[in-house]
């Protein structure tokens, strides 16, 4: 793969993200592929942050191992990042702010640029030193500076011509700085691409799928979904900030019950608060979508770091039993699709749908060719026709497929009471004075059966509840789900180049699973489980559904996502010690 990894490192408040975003946009507009990720801390100013952008001629599946160009805005940036530098890496540093005595000038190309001075001279604003650095990076990449000007114009024109001009001036100063010249030559394919993160793709997908109501309480790393909806309210989807996550999910249930497509989002801590209401949605059969963007846990954990350790929690959260769907999108395209698909599934099966994201897929940035708008079809499920109920509506009719036509408040003649208690077909309670009386004991069983029948109906009607296989005939197969799938794809490609035959089995949907088909896919293969958690939760799910035990496991739970090269090495170790 022909790719260059650019890492900008500095402190919180240095504005790395917005200058990094400029570079990703320029590259993506020019037909390069982009994969970017940031390391940040749960603080607002200071500390150490980095933003790595991988620019590539082919589709990359991770932000890349090692650094080809480092922009060091302070001393920490040199100290913390030097171990990642590839041989012959270019190190751009601010001569007054960082010293590079620790770096061997024969091994690296050290480029001192007075970033701060230039920023102050061109714009009078210290934060512009990023942009000076981006200009220099573009110079080393041999990119056309006019492309940056166009991106700056479209990004900052709302803030006024002065902001646009000072960005352009700062970038040009870096680009034209003495000694900056083309060192790499990546060739774009001329296709303009989108650049965005998973949360943005998910939010847009939900919007495209008719989401009219999003409720949330701020919590990293789900917060940018809220920001998307808040910024786009004029497009016709209401965002409601709630006082806590209990309120967020209850508002979502209320809106969904009244007939608006509704979603809420949070991270594990907020999801914990939502659990009682999740069961309520199961009992009253409310079509809601809940996003859990996982971070390193338990408890407050590492707020700005990733993990895939909420899988079993999402599958089993709540007392009692009820049908639910758990999905974990694997790519940007699937994040977009998840938004619309989850809303359809929720309304089709009148049950909660949980979308498991994580900090890595929520916040890393990729270039995307396009989104398949044709795949967005809105299916609102079974809705009763007005008047049919004659005022005493059997909302919870014991339907053969488990799905009773629903009515919404406002529809005349179809009034009923939805309840968190067990109930009969009308929504009348079988608790209280009816509880324990034979016919109502019978009704409890029948109503529970009715709800649970929806699982059979899902499995019969949908083809999505099986994993995907890449390279069925390979010698070994990695088994993974959600965000780790991309890194596994990269590891597979790396290993293939080294003559090691490894395939991939990845799960987008985790609950329910078509047990027979899943078992058939997994059977007879040498399996290596790859997940970002301690207890191999996917392997447990597979065991539960198929009886297949995956003994070879690569588990990572240090808060960082697994990268392609790192995984390829671990896979080689696993093969060498295969049990």
């Amino acid at each position: 793969m022909t790719s260059i990894n650019v890492r900008i490192a500095g402190a919180n408040g240095d504005g790395l993200e917005s200058s990094g975003a400029l570079l990703t946009k320029v590259a993506a507009r020019n037909g390069l592929h982009v994969f970017a990720h940031r390391g940040y801390q749960s603080i607002i100013r200071g500390g150490h942050v980095w933003y790595q952008i991988r620019l590539s001629e082919q589709k990359p599946w991770s932000y890349g191992d090692g650094i080809d160009i480092l922009v060091a805005l302070n001393q920490d940036a040199v100290d913390y990042q030097k171990s990642r530098l590839k041989d012959n890496a270019i190190v751009i540093y601010d001569a007054g702010k960082a010293d590079v005595d620790a770096l061997d000038p024969k091994k690296y190309r050290l480029v001192p640029i007075p970033l701060l001075d230039i920023a102050m001279k061109t714009s009078g604003d210290a934060i512009m030193r990023n942009v000076v650095a981006i200009g220099a990076v573009m110079g080393f990449m041999g990119m056309d500076i006019r492309e940056l000007n166009a991106v700056v114009d479209s990004t900052f024109s709302k803030k006024g011509q002065q902001v646009v001009d000072s960005n352009i001036k700062a970038a040009a100063a870096g680009y034209n700085y003495e000694g900056v010249k083309k060192a790499y030559d990546l060739k774009g394919d001329g296709k303009g691409r989108y650049v965005l993160d998973g949360n943005t793709a998910l939010a847009m997908g939900a919007y495209a799928g008719g989401c009219k109501f999003y409720a949330a309480y701020p919590m990293t790393p789900a917060t940018s979904i809220m920001h998307w909806f808040a910024a786009h309210e004029a497009k016709g989807a209401l965002f409601k900030q709630a006082e806590d996550e209990i309120s967020a999910i209850m508002m979502t249930i209320g809106a969904a019950h009244a007939g608006a497509r509704a979603m809420c989002g949070t991270s594990g801590g907020g999801f914990s608060l939502m659990v009682e209401a999740l069961g309520f949605a199961g009992m009253m059969e409310a079509p809601i979508v809940v996003v859990d963007s996982q971070r390193t846990g338990p408890s407050t954990g590492l707020p700005s770091k990733t993990e895939q350790a909420d899988l079993l929690f999402a599958m089993f959260a709540s007392q009692g039993e009820f049908p639910r769907i758990v999905m974990s999108p694997r790519t940007m395209e699937e994040c977009f699709k998840a938004g619309a698909d989850a809303l359809n599934l929720a309304e089709r099966y009148q049950c909660p749908v949980i979308i498991l994201m994580d900090q890595y897929i929520s916040e890393h940035i990729e270039s995307v060719e396009d989104f398949d708008l044709g795949s967005v079809k809105i299916d609102r499920g079974k809705i009763a026709t007005a008047g049919a109920g004659g005022g005493r509506f059997k909302r919870y009719e014991l339907a053969a497929d488990g799905i009773s036509p629903r009515s919404m408040p406002g529809m005349p003649g179809l009034e009923f009471v939805a309840t968190s208690y067990e109930h009969d077909e009308y929504g009348d309670l079988v608790s209280d004075v009816r509880s324990g009386i034979d016919e109502h004991v019978e009704m409890r069983r029948k109503m529970n059966d009715k709800r649970m029948r929806k699982i059979d109906t899902m499995l019969k009607s949908e083809t999505i509840f099986v994993p995907n296989v890449v390279d069925d005939g390979a010698g070994y197969h990695l088994v993974t789900f959600g965000s780790t799938t991309e890194s596994a794809t990269e590891a597979m490609e790396i290993l293939k180049q080294q003559g090691i035959s490894v395939g991939l089995i990845s799960f987008n949907y985790l609950l329910p699973l078509d047990k027979e088909k899943t078992k058939r896919i997994l059977s007879g293969k040498k399996l290596i489980d790859v997940e970002c958690n301690f207890t191999a939760q996917l392997a447990q799910v597979i065991m539960l559904n198929t009886g297949i035990e995956i003994k070879n496991r690569i588990l990572k739970y240090d808060g960082e996502a697994i990268t392609g090269e790192e995984l390829a090495q671990k896979v080689k170790d696993a093969i060498a010690n295969f049990k």
């Binding site: 989108y194 008719g210 209401l238 309120s247 209320g254 608006a260 939805a418």
Partner: protein
């Protein structure tokens, strides 16, 4: 033959009761609240299908089942956010919350202050019996100092919460108190609460005849009096003073009636999406609109 459409009075007098036998104990204040709510709805004549009654959990959660309108009995303490979601999705609905003191001032207390400051057009009726009834008699947030209950056998040593001062200070725009012993007066308070544009709360002194031996009908009757014309409900300071009278008089005088009313723009009147119409009536985005938002990321 005369149809309902031609005879508005007949329509207006139609009962909203479901006919389901209530589960409340004989003599429970909640019977009166149910009657008063039915009377208020009958007088307002709102179309049945446009009424949504949302309850939490507790004795009060039986309320939606007493009505042939739409209803939800939701989770303990969570009726207000549920009601908010429904009202924001479909502003044509008349949304009424019915809860208890444990439900609304205890486990769900956090939601009340945010509800008040949001001023969403919902009417909230709290059956305040100063006890946890359905769990057979534990102290509630409004139980009086010294009250002997199953959870405070030696007397409660927490001061009771004052829902009226709380609601007024948090920004509720209609704050009233009724008494289950006077259902006609209560019906009027509920009716005006429903008509009020914004968040209305009606705290109802609703005796628990099984577990609260202190705050009985007789106990209330000796203390309750109706606010008269001399009280100006548009004066917030005066309203707060009246709301404090209970405590200040050491529960010798308990005013009922409308304490506070204020006309402020509601949340829905200010929200840019709802201003265009009910969420449920708004069209799904077109391919062009979707393309527009995606193109921001190029």
């Amino acid at each position: 033959m005369v149809t309902n459409e031609q005879q508005p009075n007949a329509q207006a007098k139609q009962s909203y009761a479901s006919g389901i036998k209530p589960v409340w104990c004989p003599g429970c204040g909640d019977h009166s609240v149910s009657m008063a709510l039915n009377k208020a709805l009958m007088e307002l004549g709102i179309e049945k299908s446009k009424v949504l009654i949302v309850a939490g959990i507790g004795c009060s959660s039986a309320m939606p089942h007493q009505f042939s309108t739409y209803g939800v009995d939701s989770l303990h303490g969570r009726l207000l956010p549920m009601a908010v979601g429904a009202k924001l999705a479909n502003g044509d609905l008349t949304v009424i919350g019915t809860g208890g003191d444990g439900d609304g001032y205890g486990i769900g207390g956090g939601h009340l202050i945010h509800m008040a400051r949001r001023n969403i057009d919902i009417t909230y009726v709290v059956m305040n019996n100063e006890i946890y009834g359905l769990t057979t008699g534990q102290a509630s947030p409004t139980s009086m100092m010294g009250a002997k209950t199953k959870s405070t056998p030696f007397g409660d040593i927490e001061y009771p919460l004052n829902p009226l001062t709380l609601a007024i200070s948090a920004g509720a725009t209609y704050v009233a108190r009724g008494f289950a012993g006077d259902p006609m007066h209560l019906a009027e308070l509920i009716k005006n609460g429903i008509s009020h544009k914004g968040f209305s709360i009606i705290d109802v002194l609703s005796p628990c005849v099984s577990f609260n031996t202190l705050n009985t009908y007789d106990w209330f009757r000796q203390r309750v009096y109706k606010l008269d014309q001399s009280h100006d409900p548009t004066n917030r300071e005066g309203a707060l003073a009246k709301a404090l009278e209970c405590e200040e008089s050491d529960y010798k005088k308990m005013p009922i009636g409308l304490f506070y009313r204020n006309e402020k723009p509601t949340y829905s009147e200010m929200d840019m999406v709802i201003k265009k119409g009910a969420l449920i009536a708004q069209p799904m985005p077109s391919g062009e609109e979707i393309r527009d938002v995606i193109d921001e990321y190029k």
